[in-house]
Amino acid sequence: MSSRRTFVTGIGLVSPHGDDLDDVFERVFAGASAVRVVQPDPDRPGTMLLAPVECDSDHLIPKLAGRFMARASKMAVVAAHHALEASDLLVSGAGPTEAGIYMGCGLGGSEALQEHYARYFANPRKRLRAATTPMIMASGPASHVSMRFGISGPTMTCSMACVSSAAAIGEAFRAIRHGYGDTALAGGAEGQLNTGTLASWRERGHSCTRGRELGSCQRGRATCRDRGVRHRE
């Protein structure tokens, strides 16, 4: 099969350094760190080294739509907006209809899962929100990007832990290279900065190397010495 050349025409992101591409690249190449000490659960002692993302999506996502979107999906929509804009592919708020969407996502709406289930289990008279299931799915970011921008080509989610986004970008590259499509929006989104998920990561000793110096991580010490730093989100 003949292969075609493939080009990246635009990049959009939502990151711990912000969502302005030039600013982010400048900070990254200057070696600036967005990692800081965070107390994940105000009701429990202990801190972690994290690089939290401050994502303001209100200007792009109306409150009604946002009510049904997990944080990861909101970040995906904002990043996709920037990418489409940078590629000159955003016309009257819509993207290219025939484009494919290849999105990586590990958990998706874990904060929605925590919030909705906590409310449900705490009060037997409360009902679970009807939107809970679609909100927590890993396919949420790809689905919301598709709906928000009217992109209805092949829409795929790769969920393979830390390589999810890399796999998604690879699939998009392969699809274009081998002629399955001309345009693709590829990337990934995740939003796991909620107390339940972080409690689990903390127990595994991730997310903290310099925790010792900062006194932020008790159980992670041995793991940190062996594995080096791994920052979440």
Partner: protein, 79 residues
Amino acid sequence: MQSYDFLVKLLVEEFGVSPEELMPEATPSGLGLYSLSTIEMVRELEEEFGIKFSNEQVKFSTLGEAAHLADELIGAKES
């Protein structure tokens, strides 16, 4: 009437619908509510007043009709 007032408050505060758009003749789709958001609106109504819409009753056309049905269900429950 208590149902209508509740719906207005819910839609403005929780769903982000503009108060100017809210009138008894307003349709769910006209307000930007699709199937899932309409279901959630009904569930909130049911939870607030301890009532239950039947599958047929969920097919209301307007906000006023939804409130009227809810008021009837509340009345039937209290009588």
